[in-house]
């Protein structure tokens, strides 16, 4: 079972107490944006086979949203971090790069 550490309450939470929220760090487009930008925001999700950054909610725990880095091909979890992050923390990126030398980095 997938287990993620909630960065707020510090609990190692099982998948059954979490709600998935798909891709992290989305830039939101609304009125005034182009059709291409709006389509990309709504539908063209990153779908990597490998390192992926995601939103999760500790739904049956503290209720907070947080972010996680995970490998979609192996289900390995690299780490979690607060939702109030503009991008993945450098320390986490370094850790992933050490484990996955082929990873092209966060884009």
């Amino acid at each position: 079972m997938l287990t993620l550490e909630c960065p707020y309450c510090g609990i190692m939470a099982d998948e059954t107490e979490l709600s998935p929220g798909y891709e992290a760090h989305l830039k939101r487009y609304g009125p005034g944006s182009s059709d291409e930008e709006f389509e990309a925001y709504m539908f063209a999700r990153k779908n990597p086979k490998g390192v992926h950054f995601e939103r999760w909610r500790h739904a049956y725990g503290c209720g907070k949203w947080f972010l996680a880095a995970r490998d979609t091909a192996t289900l390995e979890v690299f780490g979690t971090y607060p939702a109030q992050s503009a991008g993945p923390p450098q320390a986490l990126q370094d850790k992933i790069k050490a484990k996955r030398p082929d990873w092209k980095g966060y884009k």
Binding site: M1, P20, F38, E39, A44, N47, E54, R70, T72, L75
Partner: protein, 415 residues
Amino acid sequence: MKRYSAFALAREALSNHMGWERAWAAPQPKAAYDAIIIGAGGHGLATAYYLGKNFGITNVAILEKGWLGGGNTGRNTTIIRSNYLQDSSAAIYEKARSLYETLSQDLNYNAMFSPRGVMMLAQTHHEVRGYQRTAHANALQGVVTEFISPQRVKELCPILNIDGPRYPVLGALWQARGGTGRHDAVAWGYARACSAMGMDIIQNCEVKGITSANGVVTGVETTKGYIGTKKIGIVVAGHSGQVADMAGFRLPVEAVALQALVSEPIKPCMDVVVMANTVHGYMSQSDKGEMVIGGGTDGFNNFTQRGSFHHIEETLRALIETFPIISRLKMLRQWGGIVDMTGDRSPIISKTPVGNCFINCGWGTGGFKAIPGSGWAMAELMAKGEPGPLAAEFDMWRFKEGRFIDESVAAGVAH
């Protein structure tokens, strides 16, 4: 190709079955082809078959990373139905279902289509109204379905508990000509027919890159070397996004794992397919006697061909409530497949930003039922370069333009 028949069986019986030929050839790739299909699953093989049969294009290679039919074609619960709400969905799924009716004769290979009837239970008042609406829509689309009473449900499937404490059965959407097929045989039958037309099915040949010149495809880099081609059809289900990346465009799909499982075999106890979408599980009985069970997908991107264990528990909990008789059954095998989900839960059969590169993907959790219709529509698109009436609505630009074929609202789950 030597035809299979009762006569052939008798002839081989007299010669100790030593005269059967290989069902399909195992060629090495040629330098170039008129068309290359990436992916020898059901949809890819069907595309190749109808390219040959309907359009006479037989200088075709079908490239497969693993073994043919080894992805989702060999991993589904084999349900075949066409009772969809939206017109364009009903058209392509009904085309597929009608082709399944005569597929065994067409391919000279027993695909074991069994039109035993598919029943989708209505267990809330919302579902009753939804399925009545679907039945009316199907009547207009020429798809034969009807909304039936709980008593009729019980007659058709006596092991079903229609008086459950949480969700009593209030009726069902019944498609008598829906049913099941033999999933492997569908892939094998198409493969044998494609091979007989002179097409090359090349297994253990992974595509590593797609080359193009002036915006038009020229060939593919594979683990068995470079192969030139005039046209490419990408038909790879779970890895559609990865292959589209090689061609240089982005797809609106996400990959998630969908699980299925089968019980130990028992005596025949159910001769219809039952889908219970409120409690979320579906079940039928195979010819071997195993109860074939499917449920929900994981809620996160996943490329491992296994799902989360707790989904099995949820699915079985739902089905024990619906079929109390199965509560003591042992489960024999469980597996997962990687399904490619689009935003409106409808497939993409489309031209792409790259010239002469076509894509067929996004069948999500319900691709098996669509195999013949999908291949038919994709072959027309590849042969003519423009979609025919079956594929026209399923282009990849509908997301930008807001022309959704919204089966996620219509079906909610399990579709």
